[in-house]
């Protein structure tokens, strides 16, 4: 199935060069993939995986192992950030 992975701020470097200007990458992932398994597959450093939104909704750390991905999902991830 296809999902869209969006990586922002310092995590931009973990996207292929041609995906960095959109911060988005359309990915083919296996059925049964979870938020945590995708993070592991992409080798994202745990300390940079802070704010995780699945279709705009926050996924708490304790749910990332069990939160399954569905076709068309948009998974967006940020390192620790803040602003005002």
């Amino acid at each position: 199935m296809q999902i869209t992975l969006k990586l922002y701020a310092f995590l931009t470097d973990y996207l292929p060069v041609d995906a960095r200007r959109s911060n988005a990458l359309v990915l083919e992932v296996g059925d049964g993939s979870t938020v945590a398994s995708l993070i592991a597959d992409r080798a994202l450093p745990p300390r940079l995986v802070h704010l995780v939104l699945l279709n705009g909704e926050f996924v708490p750390p304790q749910q990332r192992d069990t939160q399954r991905l569905n076709p068309g999902d948009v998974l967006a991830i940020w390192p620790p950030i803040a602003g005002g």
Partner: protein, 615 residues
């Protein structure tokens, strides 16, 4: 240097500058800056006074940590009755002006009356003089600062001034210091303009002293800096990406107000984000962002310095704008961009430069343009009336309207009234996205329930910096809460509001609280200041300040009915994204909030509350 214990009182009607002792009994109750200046203001003016009349006063106040070695200890606040809102205005600025005022030996300046002709206030340590400024009237902030430095032959002179927007009494005019740091909100610049006071230029060479316990203070300040440096947000995220990193975050959540709050997702958000500011442009191979910049004493350095694209239509024949200058910060980028559907980063930077150059709040300006674009879209405003086409998304309209508003030209005079008065004038008051007359900042109060309550109850009208619930609802600082949930939000908001009032009264920047708790701040205040500044005392002081401001606002004429949001946020659900279907549930939270505050069901502090807080 903790308190200098001196106030400079300037009477513009009489042309006098007099030194007087700081009321130390009040300092013990209100600390400094926001709290102490508010105490002076409410004690000295009639709450019903016309904000633009000589009877209003305007106070420039430092905190006890301003000018010290505490990280971010460079803040000052401007406190007055706000012309945009008709309630208390308290606008906070960084840069270097606040610390310089302290070095000159002054805790605050109280300005009263009105000068018959334009003047500026020149301060050189204990010597303060009012100087004719007829030649500066009509000049921009930037030209004024350059002229004053040249006149006094002092490149280290620190200047806080108004541009043409303040002179023209644009109701959201800002006071700008150090070229691009601003006491931005509520129209404090219009008050300065109404008094014919063009600028305050200060040079202080008295250095730091008067710290209660210097050794303990150095230890506490050093410990605080270590916390900021080691925190991922204040040590890495903010210096690298600035506040602008929020553009994509808030958009992905479906919380980014777009096209005058019609929508909550902006298709052009990525193009005006922090990530875009880091990319090389096709036109010149340069990045928009040049560097970050710190205010006095700051070890975070979140400020943005950018260089506009010289080939952009707004500046291609105007090389005076080609150099590196301030911007874009998130709030400005949102208000000038998403609020109007404009996704042209260079156009936003140009409009932002004009806001800095002529002293306008980009939030209220941009949000008012959003209302104009909606009225144009509905056919209520025409090209003939405005003087140009203003469809949503027009970068050309944004840039032109910024110039017209700053200079008081044509329809710019109407925009300068702010969206509340503008929308009322055209028979559509419900299209004004304001609370108590002040335009919203960059978070939708439907998508973030706690922020909705924060806007409704803010003492200076819609504002994110009186109780920044985004911190919990989005970042998880200090704990993550569900932005869709209302339960628990009143209690958390009260805690945020009271703690923020403490920080705003200290001389420190509220951004430190992304890493610091009150347990990091309290030792710095206690070591610097004489007296009892235990944690409980400080938090009660924050509550005292909040209620002092509330009492003033009630006396000025607001009621609990003003603690609400525009009908669009209460009745029109978010259309898309993670917040789809949501409206602001203020009614579920406000009664509990009033109860926690010790207020009546009508939002009035009870006699018991006033007594408990020493009001």
């Amino acid at each position: 240097m903790a308190w200098t214990r001196k106030i400079l009182r300037v009477n513009l009607t009489q042309g006098s500058c007099v030194s007087e002792a700081l009321n130390m009994a009040w300092a013990a109750q209100y600390l400094g800056q926001r709290g102490l200046a508010s105490k002076y203001l409410v004690s000295e003016i009639d709450p019903q006074v016309d904000p633009l009349s000589p009877g209003n006063k305007i106070i420039y106040a430092t905190g006890p940590l301003t000018g010290t070695m505490a990280s971010t200890g460079g803040r000052y606040s401007v406190v007055t009755k706000g012309p945009l809102t008709g309630v208390i205005a308290c606008s906070n600025s960084g840069g270097f002006f606040g610390a310089e005022l302290k070095f000159a030996g002054w805790d605050m300046i109280i300005v009263e009356g009105r000068s018959p002709t334009p003047v500026y206030l020149h301060i050189e340590n204990e010597r303060a003089t009012l100087v004719p400024a007829d030649d500066l009237w009509g000049q921009t902030v930037w030209a004024t600062e350059a002229a004053l430095k040249k006149r006094h032959q002092d490149p280290l002179l620190r200047v806080s001034s108004i541009g043409r927007a303040g002179e023209n009494q644009v109701l959201f005019a800002a006071i700008v210091n150090d070229l691009h740091r601003a006491a931005g909100r509520s129209g404090v610049g219009a008050v300065m303009g109404s008094k014919n006071l063009k600028a305050i230029a200060v040079r202080g060479t008295r250095g730091v002293g008067n710290i209660a316990d210097p050794k303990a203070f150095m230890a506490a300040a050093t410990a605080g800096k270590k916390v900021l440096a080691e925190n991922a947000v204040t040590g890495q995220g903010l210096p690298t990406y600035g506040t602008q990193v929020l553009m994509n975050v808030i958009n992905e959540m479906g919380a980014l107000p777009t096209r005058n709050h019609r929508d909550v997702e902006f298709e052009g958000a990525r193009k005006i984000s922090a990530e875009a500011m880091h990319e090389k442009r096709a036109s010149d191979g340069r990045t928009h962002l040049v560097t970050n910049q710190a205010c006095f004493g700051c070890t975070i350095a979140c400020g943005r310095i950018s260089r506009i694209d010289e080939t952009h239509f707004s500046v291609e024949t105007r090389p005076e704008y080609w150099g590196a200058s301030g911007g874009l910060e998130y709030e400005a980028a949102w208000a000038l961009g998403s609020a109007n559907g404009v996704d042209d980063l260079e156009a936003l930077q140009f409009a932002n430069l004009l806001c800095n150059e002529d002293g306008m709040d980009p939030i209220s300006f941009g949000a008012t343009v959003g209302a104009v674009m909606e009225l144009y879209d509905l056919g209520i405003l025409s090209k003939e009336e405005i003087g140009l086409e203003t469809p949503f998304g027009s970068a050309e309209a944004l840039c032109k309207l910024a110039e017209m508003t700053a200079r008081g030209e044509g329809f710019g005079k109407v925009i300068g009234l702010g969206s509340k008065r503008l929308c009322a004038q055209y028979g559509k008051p419900e299209l004004s996205m304001t609370v108590k007359g002040q335009e919203f900042p960059a978070y939708d109060g439907r998508a973030l329930q706690g922020m909705g309550l924060a806007y409704a109850t803010s003492n200076r009208g819609a504002c994110h910096l009186r109780g920044y619930m985004v911190s919990s609802e989005v970042f998880g600082i200090p704990v993550k809460t569900d932005p869709r949930e209302t339960a628990g939000k009143p209690e958390m908001l009260k805690a945020f509001q009271d703690a923020t009032a403490v920080v705003d009264s200290s001389g420190l920047c509220v951004f430190t609280t992304f890493a610091w708790t009150m347990n990091d701040i309290q030792p710095q205040i206690q070591a610097a200041c004489e007296g009892d500044w235990a944690l409980d005392s400080l938090l009660q002081m924050g509550e005292r300040i909040w209620n002092l401001e509330r009492d003033f606002n009630l006396a000025a004429g607001i009621t609990g009915k003003d603690d609400t949001l525009p009908p669009r946020l209460l009745n029109e659900p978010c259309k898309t994204g993670g917040s789809k279907g949501m409206v602001a549930e203020i009614g579920k939270m406000l009664p509990e909030y009033y109860s926690l505050r010790g207020w009546t069901a009508d939002g009035v502090p009870t006699a018991a509350t006033r007594s408990r807080l020493g009001l």
